[in-house]
């Protein structure tokens, strides 16, 4: 509102507050309707003396009365309108195959039309109030601030439908100014680089008459950030790969996972993805974006980031299976997003997999609140993921990243050593952390108790019948490779943990130590035993973890027993999942082979102050 004084706008609010009927809006219109278009016209009382754009500044999901007028040109924790990057495909028009370069280009913001009633729901209303005193011969233009101009589209409602507004050419005449006009705004992209576009968009109407500017009004909106799901949110749908060229090799894993998903009561169950890439966690990451809807609700678009991995699976550039975000995930209210730099370092490519992208659950530390949690990644100055992807994630500004060193790991993913589950504690969650020293102690104790000859990994094999995996406790304890790698892993994990503890304030009582040993591949560390941290939180009370395969002493698998007891104290049951052949021997576990869409939290991002 560059021309109008604060006093003038407040006066208008006060005047309108006395007028019967200038109240807030009603509930969210059911899907399929066109709510904004059918809202009752606003009757101005008294006739405004200036041109007046309105957006949902008070975030109640509607534009009605004058409650949206105050500070409509600002964006703060308390006020400011929101709009969405309209990248979904409400009418299922986009192709289910294509090249990396072209697949992302198809979405509902990629054309100059409103793609049906569902699409309209994804647009933010912008209303020009009727202006009875519009000057004779007045014309008006509407434009955007320079930074947002390439990233926004405005649609004008007409009797025939919706027309894309061209800020350089389109105008409104005096008659239109007198009658008022409905517009709808969408972003054509999310924030990719906050230094280029912060996500704020100023929409300004300029009124000219007699060759001079007579009036103007500006409203500010912020594009919704992408927020990734943390482990505490209820799973709504679980994903896992069935290997396309060898479907049978996935049978054991999928059967156990499905059983765990059923036990957890996941509403949409397990969805199989048929690709030749079993690392379902790695090639996409789920999240959402949202804007206020009536009744205190959120209008949500679900998001799947495609990993920035390059040169995997025979894709034209990016990891082939990642096309799933466009070919299998994108649809009504579902968005696929990719971001990569062709100059990213190939030797660090594994860090771009989303096993190396977790979200710490919400917490408060001192004066700092993280109600949507924080991203947790393996990244240090000398070993880091694709910087352009990191810049995009940082640009969302909602879940500031915690970074730890995973360069000592052969695969380099944070899910190899850390995870989170719900807990009956003041914080509401606990952290699972791999503890190789604890694993050694358990085996040492077993050996000293006379069980040194007990075998682990019984019946398991390292490579399609080529190597028997059976190994005794004493053999493990006598292995220089395993013992030295485990010692080094213990120190590295402790350093990771120190960073997370400092960032979150976690206490030792809030950390569950999970025993398994490490060994070496290509000079770096990998889990020797199935890494039981590397599981998936399926509900508040079910955690799916890889079967560690012993050792079994006195009828109990001592590794299973340890984790079961630790989680039982928090009301969480472990469902054991067979993943030796397809995952463990190839340096991954249950979490690496699964993914989830989760329930959107009640916390509204626009209220977080970030």
């Amino acid at each position: 509102m560059p021309h109008a004084t604060r006093a003038r706008s407040l006066l208008l609010v006060l005047l309108c507050a006395c007028v019967p009927g200038s109240t807030e809006g009603t509930g969210e219109t059911p899907s399929g309707a066109m709510p904004q278009a059918t809202d009752p016209p606003i009757v101005e009382k008294p006739a405004p003396r200036h041109v007046d754009l309105r957006v949902d500044s008070n975030r109640d999901g509607t534009i009605a009365g004058d409650a949206d007028e105050l500070d409509e040109d600002k964006w703060t924790k308390d006020r400011g309108a929101v709009f969405l990057a309209n990248l979904d495909d409400d009418e299922d028009r986009c192709p289910r195959s294509g090249k990396d370069a072209t697949l992302p280009r198809c979405n509902d913001a990629a054309d100059d039309t409103v793609n049906g009633a569902d699409d309209l729901q994804d647009l933010a209303p912008v209303k020009l109030l009727p202006w009875a005193n519009a000057p004779d011969g007045a014309t008006a233009t509407i434009d955007f601030d320079e930074a947002s101009t390439p990233h926004v589209q405005l649609f004008k409602k007409t009797d025939a439908g919706y027309e894309l507004w061209n800020p350089a050419e389109d105008t409104l005449d005096q008659e239109a100014l007198k009658k008022g006009q409905d517009f709808f705004l969408e972003a054509t992209d999310i924030v990719r680089d906050a230094d280029v576009w912060s996500g704020l968009a100023d929409v300004t109407i300029h009124v000219k008459a007699g060759g001079e500017e007579k009036d103007s009004d500006t409203v500010r909106l912020r594009v919704a950030p992408v927020i990734t799901f943390h482990h505490l949110l209820e799973a709504e749908e679980i994903f896992a790969t069935r290997m396309a060229s060898e479907p049978g090799v996935s049978d054991d894993f999928l059967a156990d996972l499905e059983s765990a998903v059923t036990a957890a009561g996941v509403p949409e169950g397990l969805r199989e993805i048929k690709v030749d890439d079993q690392w379902t966690q790695d090639f996409f990451e789920t999240g959402y974006m949202s804007m206020p809807a009536a009744g205190g609700k959120q209008h949500v678009l679900y998001v799947a980031y495609r990993s920035a991995n390059q040169g995997r699976g025979g894709g034209d550039l990016l990891r082939l299976a990642g096309k799933f975000v466009f070919t299998g995930f994108r649809g009504k209210d579902r968005i696929g997003i990719q971001q990569y730099s062709a100059r990213a370092k190939p030797e660090m490519d594994s860090l771009n997999s989303f096993g190396n992208f977790e979200t710490v659950p919400p917490y408060t530390l001192g004066d700092e609140r993280y109600p949507l949690g924080r991203v947790l990644r393996g990244s240090v100055k000398s070993w880091y993921p694709d910087p352009s992807f990191t810049k995009m994630v940082d640009g969302q500004k909602m879940q500031p990243a915690i970074e730890v060193d995973t360069s000592w790991l052969s695969v380099g993913h944070i899910d190899e050593t850390m995870s989170f589950v719900k807990a009956s504690s003041p914080r509401g969650w606990v952290m699972l952390v791999n503890d190789p020293a604890l694993a050694k102690k358990l085996l040492d104790d077993a050996s000293k108790a006379g069980h040194g000859a007990v075998k682990m990994f019984v019946g398991k094999r390292w490579g399609w019948g080529q190597g028997d995996a059976d190994i005794s406790i004493d053999e493990v304890l006598a292995s220089k490779e395993i013992m030295s790698a485990s010692t080094e892993a213990a120190a590295e994990i402790d350093a990771q943990l120190a960073i997370v503890k400092k960032a979150t304030g976690l206490t030792d009582a809030e950390i569950i130590r999970v025993p398994y040993l490490h060994w070496t591949s290509f000079s770096r560390s990998i889990a020797f035993q199935p890494g039981t941290v590397n599981g998936i939180s399926l509900s508040d009370s079910v955690f799916g973890a890889p079967d560690p395969h012993g050792p079994v002493i006195g009828g109990k698998d001592i590794m299973k027993d340890h984790l079961e007891k630790a989680l039982q104290a928090h009301g969480v049951t472990v469902k054991w999942i067979e993943n030796w052949d397809l995952y463990h021997v190839q340096m991954g576990e249950v979490h690496c082979g699964s993914n989830a869409v989760r329930k959107v939290p009640d916390v509204k991002w626009w209220e977080t102050g970030r």
């Binding site: 380099g412 220089k480 013992m483 080094e488 590295e492 591949s521 340096m587």
Partner: protein
């Protein structure tokens, strides 16, 4: 077969995956050829087993989670009998690998070197020496070869590693030679760490030195157990100097290294260093002392 005939036969042999047999001293090549032939006759299953495993590499490559497919865990669990089949593949006869990707081939090369080294069998020493002396310049190949040779811990290995550490292969050799838990190696790594040219190089050297001083490895003994005290003391002192010299990843790595080495003198070293330290470093040293007191590796 007499020596001349064997030499002629060697001339006709195909190339190994990493090395030509001609890169080996003739006598060594002769002996290994005979050993391989005898083993192939006595235990053909080990050779065919390795071949079957190698045949899986393209699939492992297609399904890899990290940057390269790895066979190291599988190969190292095949046991001592797998050494000669692996040496054959490395230096005498590369396995058939039509239409393999570059990453599949690279993954196999590195896996064979690493797994053969983990067997700690002196029969592999000349092969590793030859790779180290070859024109090979690939960092990972040289690092893993240095590790493999280092695991043998022989005087020959020590001399070769120290010599290679003065060549243009220096960085890769230094990064790998910490697997050689010998006093002269620890001394050389300590000197290199003191003179590191960058934090990234320092971090690499810190990790190598931590391998050398790894307390868990030393607890399992070995032929040079009498050098344990010297190696761990040298490592601890150098790691502490690095901890003080850097304030980034290299410092964090040095802290981890000190935990891994777990030398009993560490608290005393920290206390001494603290006397001359500025306030910020003193505070960091205090944290280090606290961490060591509850050393997470124990």
């Amino acid at each position: 077969m007499n020596g001349t005939l064997l030499f002629l036969a060697l001339g006709a042999l195909p190339q190994g995956l990493v090395l030509s047999p001609r890169a080996l001293p003739p006598a060594v090549a002769q002996r290994l050829t005979l050993d391989i032939a005898a083993a192939k006759s006595a235990a053909p299953a080990t050779f065919s087993g390795l071949q079957a495993l190698i045949a899986q590499v393209p699939r492992l490559d297609a399904q890899k989670r990290g940057d390269l497919p790895t066979l190291t865990p599988r190969l190292s669990r095949l046991g001592p009998d797998a050494l000669l089949p692996m040496l054959e593949a490395i230096a005498f006869q590369a396995p058939a690998r039509a239409a393999w990707t570059e990453s599949a081939e690279r993954g196999l090369r590195l896996s064979l070197i690493e797994a053969a080294g983990m067997l700690r069998d002196a029969r592999a020493e000349p092969v590793f020496l030859a790779i180290l002396a070859s024109d090979e310049r690939d960092f990972a190949t040289l690092q893993l070869t240095a590790e493999a040779l280092g695991r043998l811990e022989s005087d020959t290995a020590v001399n070769a590693l120290l010599a290679a550490a003065t060549t243009d292969k220096r960085d890769a050799v230094l990064a790998g030679m910490g697997q050689c838990r010998r006093a002269r190696i620890a001394d050389a790594l300590a000197i290199a760490l003191d003179g590191a040219r960058s934090p990234a190089q320092a971090k690499s050297l810190v990790r190598s030195l931590a391998h050398a001083g790894n307390a868990a490895a030393w607890k399992l003994g070995g032929p040079y157990a009498d050098e344990a005290r010297a190696v761990r003391a040298t490592a601890a002192e150098a790691l502490l100097r690095a901890f003080i010299a850097y304030d980034d990843e290299a410092r964090d790595a040095a802290s981890n290294g000190l935990m891994v080495v777990d030398d009993a003198e560490t608290p005393i070293l920290i206390a001494r260093a603290r006397v001359l330290a500025d306030a910020a470093t003193a505070a960091a040293l205090d944290e280090l002392a606290q961490r060591f007191a509850r050393n997470p590796t124990r």
